[in-house]
Symmetry: D2
Amino acid sequence: MATSSGPKTALSETIIDVWQTAITSVESNKILIRGYPVDELMGRLSFGDAVYLLLVGDMPSPTVSRIMEALLVSSIDHGAIPPSTIAARTVAGTGAPLRTAAAAGVLALGSPLGGGGSIESCMRFLNEGLAVVGDWVSYDDAARRLLDQREGTGQLPPGYGHQIHKRDPRAARLMQLAFELELEGGHTQLARAVEQELTQRRTTTSHSGGTSLNSDGAIAAVSGDLGLDAETATLLFTISRVPGLVAHALEEQRRQEATRHIDPNQHVYDGPVERHLPDMSM
Amino acid sequence: MATSSGPKTALSETIIDVWQTAITSVESNKILIRGYPVDELMGRLSFGDAVYLLLVGDMPSPTVSRIMEALLVSSIDHGAIPPSTIAARTVAGTGAPLRTAAAAGVLALGSPLGGGGSIESCMRFLNEGLAVVGDWVSYDDAARRLLDQREGTGQLPPGYGHQIHKRDPRAARLMQLAFELELEGGHTQLARAVEQELTQRRTTTSHSGGTSLNSDGAIAAVSGDLGLDAETATLLFTISRVPGLVAHALEEQRRQEATRHIDPNQHVYDGPVERHLPDMSM
Amino acid sequence: MATSSGPKTALSETIIDVWQTAITSVESNKILIRGYPVDELMGRLSFGDAVYLLLVGDMPSPTVSRIMEALLVSSIDHGAIPPSTIAARTVAGTGAPLRTAAAAGVLALGSPLGGGGSIESCMRFLNEGLAVVGDWVSYDDAARRLLDQREGTGQLPPGYGHQIHKRDPRAARLMQLAFELELEGGHTQLARAVEQELTQRRTTTSHSGGTSLNSDGAIAAVSGDLGLDAETATLLFTISRVPGLVAHALEEQRRQEATRHIDPNQHVYDGPVERHLPDMSM
Amino acid sequence: MATSSGPKTALSETIIDVWQTAITSVESNKILIRGYPVDELMGRLSFGDAVYLLLVGDMPSPTVSRIMEALLVSSIDHGAIPPSTIAARTVAGTGAPLRTAAAAGVLALGSPLGGGGSIESCMRFLNEGLAVVGDWVSYDDAARRLLDQREGTGQLPPGYGHQIHKRDPRAARLMQLAFELELEGGHTQLARAVEQELTQRRTTTSHSGGTSLNSDGAIAAVSGDLGLDAETATLLFTISRVPGLVAHALEEQRRQEATRHIDPNQHVYDGPVERHLPDMSM
């Protein structure tokens, strides 16, 4: 087979395009994350704070730090039902490397109907309402307008209602923390007003499931008030769920028969019975 | 086209296989992570602790909590050079959803030559040495034996040496924390003995780069002393790097021209200049 | 640790949801692909025809078969430049399984700016024009209207122009085959009219690259005339590129140094010099 | 925030590393696949032949072409049961892009227990036997030795037996074609000898399923005789299954309710009833 011979190296005479990145500087023996030496952060900064620093570019304040940790904890796992979990378990069951299984799970997150998939649409929904809130329009007014516009569609707004939870405990707790930490802004206040308006209207409707704010909705509201955009908020959700995907993939390989047929509906939980933290503050 | 008609539903008369999971219980309005209500964890537990709880099954002690956060922070990003980062940026540059880009990055982690890829082999290496440590064999003895066996291969043991860092700041800090927190066990002590022996032998060799413990090696050593297996330690690395992959994918889409040709060598860091934390303890 | 005990099996008394699929029937010793026994197809049907059968549901006619093979061949590889190829090579370079590398490459296909990414938008563009073609509006008229609407945007319509190819050889050949095989319909005729109109207008503009129909555009046009929707046409592209991703991943692991920094611009081709088929018909 | 300013471009004075690839040459208006202009291949070469050309580097002979098409057709789909199919459907059900769903499916292929996962181990098994075949050792002798060595493990050799098919129709047909096309070599002959020996021994054992050569085994045997290595053979399987993954992902999004819980056991086939090709030769 004839082959064209090519040079192994070439003295470049052209202008090379240099590109910029503002995330991490790596030199010999020195790694700066957004300017901070990583070894200085280690032992002083929590992983949650480091996530914030990496994505936002600066350190969180103490209250922002606490709500961020809570947000990341809230979505760390949701049992064996979500498509992302089933995808991760299905791939893990073939004996694939577990990181590969986790990656397959990530591919099932964030799409319109996947886990975290309504964070973005809920933030758009809230921003639409906030655009009209002002001197003459209260949060309650805006909530009514938003719901009037959707009247007759038969659909709850994005971020409201949940197949399993009539009252999503993650959403309730995240909203409570935003209040306690005095981090409430327009997004959370409008989200609450919409929830109340939905409850009132619900008495006359027959929606079977709940209508209260769900986890995606609370993440959207709290992230919006922190100044995060919808895409970044969805990525926080993605980051938070990876440990859950990893844990399920690991359990699948260690506890289940390989390449079994996984019926998502037929699992039972046999882990520790309900238990509680000793009274502690972080 | 003729079609075979099938029943829409069937009354199952067979015994259904029920399968068990011990990770998360999800009932209406109640989510228990390893037994703990998630809303109770929110605001009280850090994300790092929740990662530990999820993977290990129980709460970390305060000192284990601190080393785990440090471990997770240590690997959160390593700049624009690693293959995982380039894979994530390359996919992000096509306009793909950022979670998809992050998943592509995860696929470049953990393989023998990818990021975190020598955690597993280093832990095996250390376990091999620990198997002979005893009344008559000190850590130093074991280190010498391990290195004698590799003599002549011309290769450093897994977990030692780094292309960029002569002294990997992440490894040094993680080992220091293990010492300060009194979490040192056999793995870290043997890892240190191997490092010292390598330094002594090195004066007579001509290895261009450093021979000191690298980040993968320190993670292997510390994880080993915490009782984690090699696979779980590698998964901790995977979890810790996802925020970095996400940050790079986000920056790629927002700052760079789409589908550019990314030359990993031609980037410059233009983020914040070196800065430091105010004196603080977590 | 207390654990809740769960039943291992349960006699289901509920109605089980049965779901339907019309793709492949698998019984003991019998596999029917869209109704055809797979062992009967083997040796009689080409892989390209089987792809068509699987996606469309029926056998292609002889002329459709030929254009489909040509379409699949056209996009099988485009060298070392596309982001999908770089992503696959980058992951392969870490020592990851090659199927994993190919999957990472697939994640860089089909997005708006990735390979095959304008098939969908081009088909929408053509459909928009076809909606006005009729007794009083010729393909040329429709082409002029479509381009008039885009006047001033400074952008070529989707499916036209290519960074490297002034005249994309794949598009030219695919359109020629559609003509020879008498498979031309509205989409290809309108695509051609737009190309001609663009050429005429181009004399007065200064677009540096070419303005002729590119590979994505030709796939959109031909697929449209075959009655395929835009999503299916894009998936045909995805299927066709997988062998290319696999070939690059394989070459990366066998020929290149592991985890090298891949500069997409600095490759040279050293394969066989240009060669030609003996005169043959398929 | 202080930022370090960096140069936008730099005149490179260093020697640039140029790297080689022998797959595809892309110049303006010219694309050479392994030396052949792609537009010349279009309309003359089948997709299956192009896959062979791309992976192997040269054109297949007419008989090799036929067996390759048969091999690629054999594995194009295996219904709704394989983990890869379930992974693809699960991701598709979230509304993710279908290429993303296909990528998730690919991640479930090729692992030891995934689809195509015993091609590699079967080829090693056959090579082990072929190493002893010679003047004094027949294929039957080698088969006996191989099985004697595994006696008592209770496990069939890789590439033999199938959960569903007592006699895998794909394997039988592929072996028959290898015989008819006079492509039989050591691998297929030894594979057949092992199958016969297994059948004889089986009368005295109680293995519930079949013991005959399965699809993975036949692919390994035929590929081995074609001179392909185990990794390339497994990649051929990967390539061949992508259309199946795509078809299932597409059907999932178009026919099923989003994010449903997919029980792999509860599907029924409602596609075309069994039908047959008119007598034809490719």
